[in-house]
């Protein structure tokens, strides 16, 4: 193995170590997600002022935009994990990639539904085939494709490798979603929150949005850790460490 990777990271890649690590961290992640989510919802729905143009209807942004960010972020995580899984054949990387897909698909679905609900009163239509909306829909299909391909194989690891290929090729859609509003004339407006330069949103609206972003990140980790733990147990069901856990559970 390459010696530039620290030893603890190698150890973390082993299923029993990661199982314990994820189990210890998961309650904290879930608690942080719920706490930050509650604060963000209170800030966004109660404290933040109404928008000068859209009135109170803009408040759906506190769900729509963090979900949209997560739909792209999780795809990125899935693609990187897929890449590691394909080249180095690390079992844990396969599990991370395949268990990220359903969470990402849910966030993409929420993005599309909330966007549609927002579009009807403001734009005047539920759906339109502009570049941003269409590429986000393609993202949902990519997620569904990865999930479907993974489950289409008898052998899980073979399925994971095939799906990982699809996930890697699909990463090309992520910059297209992000930059679609700059590259083409679209009905969807441009980015409000910017990493470079000032955001186009007043501060009392921005902080709930960023808090919700943090909450969704923690929710993703909590959800991912739970899914990975279940998956590892199923995958290694014959191994010693799983037997020990099973014996301990039975003794209780």
């Amino acid at each position: 193995m390459s010696d530039w990777i620290p030893l603890w990271l190698h150890k973390l890649g082993s299923p029993p170590v990661f199982y314990r690590f994820a189990g210890a961290l998961r309650p904290w992640m879930l608690a942080l997600a719920l706490l930050l989510g509650a604060v963000a919802l209170y800030g966004g729905l109660v404290l933040a002022p109404a928008d000068y143009q859209q009135g109170d209807a803009y408040r759906i942004i506190f769900i729509h935009v963090p979900s949209a960010w997560m739909s792209l972020f999780i795809y990125g995580v899935m693609a990187v994990a897929s890449f590691i899984a394909l080249v180095w054949r690390i079992k844990l990387a396969e599990v991370v990639a395949m268990e990220s897909a359903p969470v990402g698909a849910c966030f993409t679905f929420i993005t599309l539904v909330t966007g549609s609900l927002w579009g009807k009163p403001m734009w005047g239509t539920w759906w339109t085939w502009d570049a941003r909306l269409t590429s986000e829909l393609v993202l949902l299909f990519l997620y569904l494709g990865v999930i479907g391909l993974y489950h289409a194989f008898e052998d899980r690891r073979q399925g994971a490798r095939a799906a990982a290929f699809l996930a890697i090729v699909g990463i090309i859609n992520v910059p297209i979603v992000h930059f679609s509003v700059n590259w083409w004339n679209t009905l969807h407006q441009g980015s409000t929150v910017r990493i470079l330069g000032p955001s186009k949103m007043s501060g009392d609206m921005l902080w709930p949005l960023l808090t919700m972003m943090a909450a969704t990140k923690f929710y993703y980790l909590a959800s991912l850790f739970g899914r990975i733990r279940a998956d590892l147990l199923a995958m290694e069901s014959g191994k010693d460490w799983v037997r020990q856990i099973a014996a301990r559970e039975e003794a209780r």
Binding site: Q53, L86, V87, G124, T125, A131, W184, K200
Partner: protein, 160 residues
């Protein structure tokens, strides 16, 4: 890195590169077709003439909205930096439709008039409370008034 991993790495990277090139070329080729809308100046320079139905996008000219008293017929003018286009529409308009709002109308040309079958309102990426917007508008007005006052003073000022 051992040879097996190196080979896998090469395969994965080359598949990714091939896919990126293929999609990049497709997107580049679609660049023209993927335009969601045409602006009034593009329409006037004939860029939309290949299409029977297309989308017209621009800003509603302030004061140009005229509603018929006996029907839902509305006429208004859509402008961009270099052109203007009269639009006719019959139906219910979205909440955000007003003077100086960006709109996207779907329809066809009838002589020099655009007959819309659907009008959508576009909003910008700026969000702020109404009070802040009013304060900014006031500050802007104030500047204009000052400017006008300064101009009014000019004729009275002693000529050199």
């Amino acid at each position: 890195m051992n040879p097996t991993r190196k080979r896998r790495l090469t395969i994965v990277v080359s598949v990714l590169a091939a896919a990126a090139v293929a999609i990049g070329l497709t997107v580049f080729a679609l660049q023209q077709n993927m335009n969601y809308l045409f602006t009034p100046s593009q329409v006037q320079s004939g860029e939309a003439s290949a299409y029977k139905t297309f989308r017209l996008g621009g800003m509603v000219k302030a004061g140009s909205i005229q509603r018929a008293s006996d029907s839902l017929k509305v006429t208004f003018t859509v402008i961009d930096a270099g052109g203007a286009m009269p639009v006719e529409y019959t139906g219910i308009l979205p909440d955000l439709f007003r003077d100086n709002q960006s709109v996207i109308a779907t329809g066809h040309m009838d002589n020099a008039r655009f007959i819309a079958t659907e009008v959508l309102a576009k909003h910008d990426e700026t969000y702020m409370p109404k009070e802040l917007k009013d304060a900014m508008a006031k500050a802007h007005e104030g500047k204009k008034v000052d400017g006008a006052a300064a101009q009014d003073n000019k004729p009275g000022a002693p000529q050199p």
